[in-house]
Symmetry: D2
Subunit: 353 residues, 4 copies
């Protein structure tokens, strides 16, 4: 209700704050009898970890998954699967100074307005740390999807206004930037270093593609497949926009250009991005999301404290100048949750015919 | 489950196809004792009507709302409010020819794949006609929101690549194009006429703003206010993308530019578009959506029939060369449903403190 | 949210009051391609109709089902199925006198407390009339279940303290009382006539059995199959209790008596009533419900009006001295909704293994 | 979906099996700013513990609650509250022998049918151990309810056919039997010892009363307050029936007896058990549930193994001869969850009027 659950059949609930005792998740509705690869889950966790790439922060978060329930001899039993990640620095002093100040670009102000009480030790449920739990759940979903021939990949399409260029979207993508094509990686890396030196941050564009999904998955009305994916993506903290297929460019072209025509071999183009009327066409599902620059910057900013007194704020410590790379496994995870759940819903609908 | 309901407390369920006997909706969870203005609902219906503006089709759809339940002496009773709109031309022959052909850009192909059966008389639940029911429900929500000082307006930001220019966003906007600023209306109108003459269609950009919403509404995790709005907007048939505040441009700028700083008078900018961490800031909520060109065009297109035989298709009849104007009340309606429901959820959460 | 929907996959929403313009329902999630027998639905409606048996009231309610959506050439399309029943006497004067008085045993007082506004023309959403919509929805579910070999029957086990006796539960049961065995019908009929003459009313016990349901349907935790059936049955206005299998007698016996032992031919008894740990055993599901006497009686009763002034109330008009017979199709309908929905949920869970 | 969540606004999700690593729960939608008394939660846990009364088993389960999230300086923050209980004997050999045998009265057979895989170390999600998590969640709900003047008490009304007699229902009730009146405690205790000596078990009747709940809480249609309570109670493993107010006796009396008349001082009786039309009347809510005898008995029983071969089974070890006492905090917990959630839903509905 407070929206800490997601999905209909394959339904996850996450809990935990960045500086509490632990974060975690519960998966309800996971198919039974599936041999879960825990190492593969841990690998997904590592992709999201700040130290996972050269450009991450040096903070030492604990991202070790502990499975509490739902498995027997390595297989899912149909019971809820609970996993936790224990926080290490739950009593961090780093955040002490920020206790009564609303950090620009963060949810501090809105949290205070909503609940009248705020755990000042981090971003609460809007914290990037919460996405750990999503990645763990998504890793389970990805394994099941993979066993059905569905593959989901996200790569970086642009950073700070510099677009990836060259032959593109042949995953897996390469560190450190995981761009969909690497010709401009050097320019991006220089810009990242300059921005870090300035105490500033960068955003970017992420592209995600879902391959191998059969035609006919999704719903035609409120729960269109693209609507669910948009819901999922905009639920990731820094995401400010999403577009499918041609996306915003579809607004500029004519119907004769936008329509995907067909012949006996199938669709002749994929401007729709793999979804028509909310239902998968069998083509690649393609979407892009806009990721805003990390709000935590060490440059001086104007803000107010809880008593509405003006404050000149400079956020200390090493901060990620960009999260667009770390967000990739989160994007894939959320996409996997939507697709797997939609497939299960579809199975229910197709049954008893 | 098949996704014909939307919302948590103020929850609507819609039903009906474009050529069945009737369309309709049920609102559950409407506050009781509210004096409903039925004329205001009908006016919203008329805005969505094809003949509502000069550039609509000449089809004669019936958009007269009949209230079946939930009111007593003009006031809501807390019981579900059901409304229906009876279809006139439910046995249309117009669609007979298209019975076995998948129209490009429509959901015909995906419907067939999903259900194995398809009512060939129209677009089923993916039809634009279904949005009538949403507009009726949204009109109820808008009245309640208005009584609480919340106002929602959508206007046209661009058509076919031509942007509205000039002083902007001072609603109500003017017919026939309802642009957010009217300096380029003439250019747009010429382009529309040319496109119509070519048997082609145009898309556009719609901007929506929500004013008067208090800070603190929304959820920080999966059901972020922007995530719910994205879900709502992408559930409208022709919408291919959404962005909030700076949107995709946020991906290009630095954190020091994107962050909305504050002083004792409030926020100094609104790049976030009125939402931080999924919760309203008290600033205007601003988002834009990309609307694809109408898929029904009279130019010849390649497609296949149900037996996968190639077909050269030319869709007869007069068709709207653009739906970007007719979509405005639908956008406002869906936004109103999200905002009102979020306010009611928030009330539940704030209670018993 | 206000609880006018029921089910997860096969999900119904009902609307309408006893004296509004119409009642109706929307079924979402009905399997597609099913040839629906509308006559069979109407027959179920007739079973619930006051004039359906000798002992019904003489009120002339309209119970003709109109299908508004979701069918094409007689088959379900996967789109929501909406049905309405138009009320005839929506401006009844009969209820005028009761406008400001709280009828004992009815929801008048609690409605007033909850919503602060009350449609005085009937029992609102707690009215028996609302169950018409349930019967229509249940009739759809029963047809689909029947095609899968699942049969649901309810019969009268007792009226006013007189138990049905003799060889029992061989449906279909016979009018006018539809007892599970008819040896005591004459005694019951005499008691009914005497009670009617006194202006009083009677309750009774209904037994329902579900046959042909495979083992393995249901959930082990909060949504146990018996929990869902209990929810469904207690949601019927006059029902005050439910028991499964041995029921309350299970509280009196020892484990060695209660436990259903097995041998290679299956279960050796069915004290559990066909459900263990919330999941069907494959045996008959058996439950009984307690139906209170009809609250509308013509004997003088003490009550208060909206201003809390004492009133001596005598409810005029002909009233059903018992609803235990008319409730049978409602019980079957609600059971059918639970069972079909559980089967569909189970299908989703079994898939992708 | 698999039904491991319960509630709408105050919504809990539980996880864990009796012999996995841990059990736990997540509460979503808890009001923020509430000072939670963790000791009081632990006391509720102890009531449910096998060693909590003389007649419990000697098994040493760990029932220590660990709070993982959702609190800051002892107060709820509005974030999900996660709690876990670590299992001690998760690799118990006791259950090894039962690995391939279906224990009578347990869910072993139905689990196998549903999921095709079964963790043989215990009762899975149908295990009594799962109710620990419910008690913890209910203890939170009870604290909030208590702060609003709502009190919930359950006591034993009968054991093995022996009814509690004497002045009754003046909580708190006394150990070891917690009967609603203690005159027959000695007889019950003798019967319990005899039954234990026989290797057999006993059931009983539990009565629960909810005091201090204002009139107007609940819904009139599918989610009647009694329907939700019935759902909650039948979701407890051993419960085979429920009745409200007069309950099954209401089926035997006439309307003039059953109807609760009113005068200016309020209701003159409470046969309805505090609920009319699904909505609270402001009177005490009263219901009784039938608890079957514990299925684990050491007497020889006939059953089959997974290959359907007949087995003579004798379950070793010390077993509780009755759970009717240990179930009391579970009953109160589930009632508290329903009532608090209903109050929060009601707040949402009452708002924006």
């Amino acid at each position: 209700m407070s929206g800490n659950s997601f999905g209909t059949i394959f339904r996850i609930t996450t809990f935990g704050e960045s500086h509490g005792e632990a974060l975690g998740l519960v998966i309800d509705g996971c198919p039974s009898g599936f041999a879960l690869d825990l190492d593969a889950i841990q690998k997904e966790m590592d992709r999201r970890r700040p130290g996972g790439t050269k450009h991450g922060t040096s903070r030492n978060e604990s991202d070790i998954i502990h499975v509490l329930s739902g498995l027997y001899e390595g297989r899912t039993t149909g019971s809820p699967i609970a996993m936790v990640l224990f926080n290490e620095n739950q009593n961090s002093k780093d955040y002490g100074k920020l206790k009564d100040v609303f950090r620009p670009g963060h949810a501090d102000f809105t949290y205070e307005k909503k609940w009248g009480i705020r755990d000042p030790r981090g971003g609460g449920r809007s914290s990037g740390r919460e996405t750990s739990a999503r990645v763990a759940a998504g890793a389970v979903a990805k394994q099941i999807l993979s066993s059905r021939g569905v593959r989901i990949d996200a790569g970086v399409r642009a950073i700070g206004g510099i677009a990836a260029e060259g032959t593109d979207f042949v995953p897996p993508f390469s560190p450190p930037l995981f761009t969909v094509s690497s010709e401009n990686d050097d320019r991006m890396l220089r810009m990242i270093e300059e921005t870090r030196a300035e105490g500033d941050s960068l955003g970017g564009i992420v592209e995600c593609r879902i391959r191998g999904l059969q035609a006919g998955i999704g719903e035609p009305c409120f729960d269109k497949l693209d609507a669910l994916l948009a819901h999922a993506m905009l639920s990731i903290g820094a995401v400010k926009g999403i577009e499918f297929g041609l996306g915003f460019r579809a607004a500029d072209v004519k119907g004769s250009v936008d329509n995907d025509q067909m012949d006996e071999t199938g669709f002749l183009s994929n401007n729709a991005g793999g979804i028509l009327g909310g239902i998968s066409t069998g083509e690649e599902i393609v979407f892009r999301i806009a990721v805003k620059p990390t709000p935590s910057i060490s440059r001086e900013q104007r803000t107010v404290d809880r008593d509405n007194r003006p404050v000149e704020l400079r956020i200390e410590g090493r901060h990620d100048p960009l999260i667009v790379v770390r967000i990739l496994p989160v994007v894939e995870a959320m996409a996997a949750l939507v697709v797997l759940d939609s497939m299960l819903v579809d199975e229910a609908e197709r049954s008893l015919r």
